[in-house]
Amino acid sequence: MTGPRRTGEPALPGWWLWATALTVAIAAGSWLWNQGLHIGPTPLQRYLADRAAALDTGEPVTDQELVGLARDKLAVQAGADLFSRNCTKCHGARAEGNIGPNLTDGFWIGGGAPVDIHQTILLGRDGKGMPAWGLQLGTGAVKQLAAYVLTLRDTNVAGKAPQGTRWTASPAR
């Protein structure tokens, strides 16, 4: 009674056998698909593709477009709202700078052209603490933010000392 019987061994349940064979086949197949033949994307490749798609702004953003947006009251208001919700922790309530630089002077770490500012907000600055806001807020919101930040330039609120290089609009514009 204590030992398993040897004679008259019952057959293995059929559904169990088939389900086992199926999962073994799926496991081996997915191994081959991804690891053997490298057909499927790796998680990192898939992420990079998703990221590129999420940050794709369609038409390339131009200085003209952003400068135009900076004159659009509604867009600037939306940008100001976004700024107060997301940016003041680092840049200060009046954009005077805190952990991040003062945005009201004429100096820029990542370049002061409208497209540069847009790019900095969209993709972040590696190693400088500025995250990629494009993923958090979406590309439309980033344009509004950039428009708002453009309106802050040279308003010179007293705060953090200037960082980066002085930007002046090129005469061509």
Binding site: M1, T2, G3, P4, R5, R6, E9, P10, L12, P13, W16, A19, T20, T23, V24, I26, A27, A28, S30, W31, L32, N34, Q35, G36, L37, H38, T42, P43, L44, R46, Y47, L48, D50, R51, A54, K89, C90, N98, I99, D126, G127, G129, P131, A132, G134, L135, Q136, L137, G138, T139, G140, A141
Partner: protein, 764 residues
């Protein structure tokens, strides 16, 4: 009420085994089980009501490991010992060494007490299921080796020639727990209360996942299946349904389980091939599990008429059903899509408790309802109370698991929800608030389950009281052992038997496939499959039924069996972990940099407080994770983390890139009163850290230990450690004074912790 004598006779010819050790372990298991579940209910309450974190010692981060360690080592360990001390002498017809049993019992209780006392005091090594500091680890290991010696001595002095399948499971338990516990505990001590794990970063994260899963499985699953294979047929009055199913269950499970450590690290910085291997074996792991479930259910079905009336059968059958559900859930979690949603959420907590409450708790109850009356030579005090326990346990476990099954996907979906135009929908704390109802339901389930356990405790204590303490103890039958010295098979022939060579060959082909170029890999896996199928067909067709099979001969040889068990259960872990430990990620300048002295002290506070219980430090490659926490984590960033703090659950946000995001003042205010900064936060207050001082004279010793483990500290850095740490502390204290008029000592624990938090994800 004094019942009539025990209904079953002991196995023929065995005499009455000495159950004194088993009795003591059973009582200890009941006491520890009550404490472990009380701790579980308490930490569940803390997640709902932050005020329950009433003292630093009772904080969630410190109490959660008390719950897990007491369930695993104190309750699980004692229960396993009770079962094996009861079952093994009967199945082997071998005597127990009373002296070894006494040493084993008391050293284990001592280590368990040390475990549940040290963790609330903030003595925490910092790994997942590897929280206990090295002296306790050593005590547990030593006690476990005494237990191993006991089982080896029983096997060597056995009166039964063939070794019963239950003993295979016990042997796998002894070997598995020893290996997993040893590897998980490998650490370099700095002092009695602080050591740094031998492995760092990704290697350590893999070790934590592999050994943590191993400890859980080999304390709460494997030995209980062994016990069930012994007791269920006795209770059912039927032979075990199928021997083939036992073979498939045992060897299949042992081979597959070692690969699946990396399954808990899907989509982390672990190399893709190791994730894929874990996922492949995780997917098929349901099959051996269900071989065991079916075998148990079919055995019980033969006694179907008595299942309802007999508490033992009832608990075993319900336990098997819960295990079957857990095995399928485990296979679902091997799919990348499910895992991406489930990781860091309550889904995993649900899966773990499906096994712990549903399987282990119910199987333990079935075993105790069988063993306790027989060990004390009496009848169960109240079968009706056992029935009440049954319904409380089943309802409690279902409630708990259902709550987690809702909570996990709820939080997972909220954290990944993105607006169509881009951007996240919910803040982290909103996802936490959404769990309030399900966490309440979980708490109710846990309390109901705990109540059932207390009913069992009362019932068993009454049973024991009624027996009057005398019981049916007789001296162990010290029979002259019937050693199988007449077995003509040599050890070498068994170890090099066809099935072993066959398994080694298939394994070799799989490893070669993993290393080979794509097309060769395809051919090799195909070849391995053909060889495997051909081998199975050939052994079925050509097997000689007149002679004992290779496995039947193996069952008469304890040493050969033990060697093959060790080989099977280690093969996957070695094949998967060894290459990753031998050739870890290379240091990347700017990413892999040692911590400064004060940051290191802050990290020790992070470890001691058990912050890992709620905060991960591993951002997965998903848009919603990057948007919330920052750029994807790489393995080189945590290279010098001994132990790794990748974590497994997010009750708070990921912290891998928290550094530089907020001013020091924000961190200070948040640690003092989290709700003043984040409305709805459930984080405990860490006000006590402002009053605690860090001993900066010890920092140099810690850095020296870490340098021995491979962290590139220079002599100058180590010599100047105390001064550098003091200077760092002064800078932060000054900043807090200037920005917030906060007066805090520059060598206070809160300053050190802020130094560490500001460093995470940032260059030094």
């Amino acid at each position: 009420m004094a019942g009539p004598p025990a209904p079953t006779a002991p196995p023929a010819g065995a005499g009455v085994p000495d159950d004194r050790a088993a009795r003591r372990f059973a009582l200890a298991a009941l006491a520890w089980g009550a404490l472990a579940m009380a701790a579980g209910v308490f930490v569940g309450l803390e997640l709902m009501v932050w005020q329950a974190n009433a003292a630093p010692q009772l904080g969630f981060g410190r109490m959660r490991p008390v719950h897990t360690a007491s369930v695993l080592f104190a309750f699980g360990g004692n229960l396993v010992f009770a079962g094996i001390y009861y079952s093994a002498p009967r199945l082997l017809r071998a005597p127990i060494s009373r002296r070894l049993a006494a040493i084993h019992f008391w050293t284990w209780q001592l280590a368990a007490v040390a475990a549940v006392v040290s963790l609330p005091l903030g003595i925490n090594q910092g790994g997942e299921l590897a929280e206990l500091e090295w002296p306790i680890d050593l005590a547990l290991l030593g006690s476990w080796l005494v237990f191993a010696a006991q089982l080896v001595s029983m096997v060597r002095r056995r009166g039964e020639r063939r070794i019963h399948p239950s003993i295979w499971f016990y042997a796998a338990t002894v070997i598995g727990v020893a290996v997993f516990h040893l590897v998980a505990s490998l650490a370099l001590p700095v002092s009695l209360t602080r050591s740094y794990s031998l492995f760092g970063g990704m290697g350590d994260a893999l070790i934590q996942a592999w050994a943590g899963q191993g400890l859980f499985t080999f304390l709460l699953v494997v030995p209980l299946f062994g016990l069930l294979y012994d007791l269920l047929p006795r209770a059912a009055g039927q032979p075990l349904h199928s021997r083939n199913l036992v073979l498939i269950h045992f060897w299949g499970f042992l081979f597959a389980i070692g690969w699946t450590g990396s399954l808990r690290l899907l989509d982390t910085a672990v190399p893709d091939w190791a994730q894929a291997a874990g996922a492949a074996f995780g997917l098929v792991l349901w099959a051996p599990g269900w071989a065991g479930v079916l075998n148990g259910l079919m055995t019980a079905r033969a006694a179907a008429s008595s299942v309802r009336g007999d508490p033992v059968l009832k608990f075993f059958v319900a336990a098997l059903l819960f295990y079957g559900a857990a095995a399928i859930d485990g296979s679902i979690l091997a799919s990348r899509d499910a895992a991406s949603l489930a990781h860091y959420t309550d889904w995993h907590i649900g899966q773990v408790h499906l096994v712990a409450l549903g399987w282990a708790g119910l199987a333990a109850a079935g075993a105790l309802y069988w063993m306790v009356p027989r060990m004390w030579g009496t009848r169960l005090h109240s079968p009706r109370a056992a029935s009440v326990h049954f319904y409380l346990a089943v309802v409690g476990a279902l409630f708990y698991v259902a709550a987690m099954a809702i909570a996990g996907p709820t939080q997972g979906l909220m954290l990944r929800a993105e607006r169509p135009e881009g951007g996240l929908v919910y803040s982290f704390v909103e996802s936490l608030r959404a769990l309030h109802v399900t966490h309440g339901a979980r708490l109710i389930g846990g309390v109901v389950y705990f109540a059932g356990f207390l009913v069992m405790g009362w019932n068993l204590i009454r049973t024991i009281r009624a027996a009057g303490g005398a019981g049916a103890v007789a001296d162990s039958a010290d029979r002259s052992p019937d050693h199988s010295t007449d077995d003509p098979t040599r050890l070498r022939d068994l170890l090099l038997g066809q099935p072993v060579l066959f398994a080694a060959g298939v394994l070799g082909l799989l490893v070669a496939a993993a290393l080979a170029a794509p097309l060769a890999s395809f051919g090799l896996v195909f070849f391995a499959a053909v060889v495997a199928l051909g081998g199975l067909a050939a052994s079925a067709a050509l097997g000689d039924r007149s002679r004992p099979s290779w496995h039947e001969r193996l069952e008469t040889r304890g040493l050969a069996l033990a060697i093959l068990i060790a080989a099977a259960l280690l093969s996957g872990g070695v094949a998967e972990l060894a290459p990753l430990l031998a050739r870890g990620p290379s240091p990347v300048p700017g990413e892999s940099e040692p911590y400064s002295p004060l940051q290191l002290e802050g990290r020790d506070i992070y470890l001691a407080e058990g912050c890992r219980a709620c905060h991960s430090q591993m951002i997965r490659p998903f848009l919603w994770e990057v948007a919330r926490y920052g750029e994807v984590s790489s393995a080189s960033e945590s290279l010098y983390d001994h132990p790794a703090q990748w974590g497994s659950r997010r009750i708070g946000p990921d912290l891998a890139r928290i550094g530089g995001r907020y001013p020091n003042l924000w961190h200070h205010d948040h640690l003092i009163d989290p709700r003043a900064v984040t409305l709805g936060s459930t984080m405990p207050s860490y006000r006590h850290l402002a009053g605690e001082r860090v001993d900066l004279t010890a920092t140099a010793g810690k850095m020296r230990a870490l340098r021995a483990l491979g962290v590139p500290y220079t002599d100058a850095q180590i010599d100047r450690a105390a001064d550098a740490a003091a200077a760092e502390g002064r800078a932060i204290a000054l900043d807090l004074r200037q920005t917030g008029k906060i007066e805090v000592a520059s060598d206070s624990a809160i300053v050190a912790l802020i130094a560490y938090l500001q460093r995470m994800g940032q260059p030094p």
